[in-house]
């Protein structure tokens, strides 16, 4: 696979092959060759022959989120990804998969198809081009824990999300994550994140933030590590500690009162604490951003 720009870890492009899980009625609205990448193998979730691959996808989710207590039931894959939206990711052909990984994924004997090593799931929202992402999974951490220290999957998460958003035709993106989530380091690669919530009782983890950004060529290329793209830098006004629920509630109150904030850059780790930068910005209108009231 080749892209018309440099990425953080070029070996991913040579080792892995793209796939997209898309129902036939959604497939025409997807770009299966984002940025001119080689066409993704299309997996049709309404076909019986896709069952083995979809089971491996479920396994990838378990390897990624099981330890955090948020694995996704299969019905959620089906009802909240495969039928309404799409899944894009990178995979390795089974015959080239490392033996330890075969065991970890519980690849069935005789299976000769693709084994997904990453995936990104998003759902279309109520306006064309506005998407809500709900799952970014990478086998990297699980493979390292299993002892595959020489397998270099650095940058896999960001590469997958960048290609996926182009595949989906996303122009505005929204998502939810926890203040302490390592995924926040990936999300900020797309540029400053608009905050729609800082404390979210509607989510199982109240310490969840809802964030969004405009999806542009520059934001996607920057996220994947293109060194020729530089996104504007914004200085933080203050830092929110990732365990400080009082500060989250206070920030939520200020958002509900009409103030607007962004996360301008990556969190900072020090002595067991995680500090997330926050910058107040001028209110851009009555709502929270594109797709959430303008």
């Amino acid at each position: 696979m080749q892209l018309p720009f440099a990425v953080r870890n070029p070996s991913l492009l040579t080792q892995l092959t793209p796939y997209v899980v898309a129902a036939p009625f959604n497939r025409p609205l997807l770009d299966v060759s984002p940025f001119g990448a080689s066409p993704a193998t299309v997996i049709d979730p309404t076909k019986l022959e896709s069952a083995s691959f979809l089971d491996l996808l479920h396994r990838l989710d378990g390897l990624t989120f099981g330890p955090e207590g948020m694995p996704m039931p299969k019905w959620v894959f089906y009802d909240c990804a495969e039928i309404p939206g799409a899944i894009y990711g990178l995979a390795c052909p089974a015959e080239r998969l490392w033996p330890v990984a075969r065991e970890l994924f519980q690849v069935p004997d005789g299976y000769a198809g693709l084994v997904p090593l990453s995936m990104y799931i998003a759902l279309p929202m109520q306006t064309r081009g506005v998407w809500f992402g709900h799952n970014l999974a990478s086998a990297g951490p699980a493979l390292r824990t299993a002892g595959l220290l020489d397998v270099d999957l650095r940058g896999l998460g960001a590469l997958t999300k960048g290609l996926a958003l182009r595949c989906f035709g996303a122009r505005t993106f929204w998502g939810a994550t926890q203040w302490l989530s390592k995924a926040l380091f990936i999300h900020v690669k797309f540029g400053p994140l608009r905050l729609a919530t800082a404390w979210t009782p509607a989510h199982s983890e109240h310490e969840t933030l809802t964030y969004g950004f405009d999806v542009t060529d520059a934001s996607l290329r920057a996220s994947m590590g293109d060194p020729t793209v530089t996104l504007p830098k914004i200085d933080p006004d203050f830092w929110l500690e990732g365990h400080d629920t009082t500060a989250m509630r206070d920030l939520q109150d200020r958002i509900e009162a009409g103030e607007r904030f962004v996360i301008p850059g990556a969190p900072r780790h020090s002595q067991g604490a995680v500090h997330v930068p926050i910058t107040q910005v001028p209110a851009w209108g009555p709502g929270l951003g594109h797709g959430l009231g303008g």
């Binding site: 019986l48 929202m125 064309r128 509607a202 009231g293």
Partner: protein, 290 residues
């Protein structure tokens, strides 16, 4: 037609859950039933935490026995943010003590207690021709009566479906449900359902079906009246046993080979046996129908 549902109209209030970027585009009235502004819930505001907690409890009661309660991150990421909820609710003060206990209503809570809900989310296919989606998926339809008969007036699920389908701008409806689910009879009352899948290993319960129906062909009055056979459904030319996985897989194989198969009536019960009428479009008519 809503006169038949007077006990629900007398005791229940409609509610909507939609974020502030979507709720202004939704109608304020459904078949003469007003949706008060206070009953339009913004899931991003802290003040609605108690109501959202009760809604999650309703979901757990209804889907927990099937091993499919909705994780509340799914509730947020896959329901209230991309799509919306419509449902009916009863004021806590109007509920009997056993109902308050069943729904685990917090002491002192005086707000709405949800008794039914429908979740609809846009599908990518719905953007083929317009900037706003005309194709939606309903993947959850539930009523407290399915686990606690007598909690609320009968007919709750059907009225929730009929009104919910009018709330969202749906032209083509997709749905998923289990072959043995009682709500299948409610969906079939919409009209002939074209099967998208008959056996679905991608789902937690493989004996799940996926269907679609063009709502232009749906007469909601017919749904609300609930006839045994829908007016525009073809006569069945086959019957399917929902407990026979092999038969469902064979039906799935037919669909994958290009057959158009419709569900054309409610499940029929004969003791422990269940049969569901189907119509294979283009198949020869059975002898008795010629």
């Amino acid at each position: 037609m809503l006169n038949n549902y007077a006990p629900i109209l007398d005791s229940c209030e409609p509610f909507v859950i939609a974020h502030r970027g979507f709720s202004p585009s939704l109608p304020k009235q459904l078949r003469g039933m007003s949706i008060p502004d206070a009953n339009v819930i913004d899931p991003q505001l802290r003040e609605h935490a108690d109501f959202l907690g009760l809604l999650r409890h309703l979901d757990t009661l209804c889907f927990g026995p099937n091993g499919m309660p909705m994780p509340s991150w799914v509730f947020y990421d896959c329901a209230v943010m991309p799509g919306g909820f419509f449902g009916l609710a009863i004021r806590a003060a109007r509920l009997e003590p056993w109902c308050l206990e069943a729904m685990q209503v917090p002491a002192g809570y005086t707000g709405l207690v949800p008794v039914s809900q429908l979740i609809a989310i846009p599908m990518l296919a719905g953007f083929a021709a317009s900037a706003t989606p005309d194709t939606w998926l309903v993947y959850s339809l539930e009523s407290i009566n399915q686990v606690s008969p007598g909690f609320a007036p009968a007919g709750l699920q059907k009225l929730t479906l009929a009104l919910g389908l009018q709330l969202f701008p749906i032209r083509t409806l997709y749905g998923t449900t289990q072959w043995r689910a009682h709500k299948l009879a409610t969906y079939v009352d919409l009209g002939p359902l074209e099967l998208v899948t008959a056996y679905t290993p991608a789902h937690s319960l493989p004996r799940t079906l996926s269907f679609r129906i063009d709502l232009q062909d749906v007469h909601l009055e017919t749904l609300l009246a609930g006839p045994n056979v829908h007016a525009i459904a073809q006569a069945p030319n086959g019957w399917i046993d929902p407990d026979d996985a092999d038969a469902l897989m064979a039906l799935q194989a037919e669909i994958e080979a290009g057959a158009c198969i419709q569900l054309v009536g409610r499940p029929q019960y004969y003791g422990a046996q269940i049969r569901i009428p189907i119509h294979r479009v283009g198949a020869p008519k059975p002898l008795e129908a010629r």
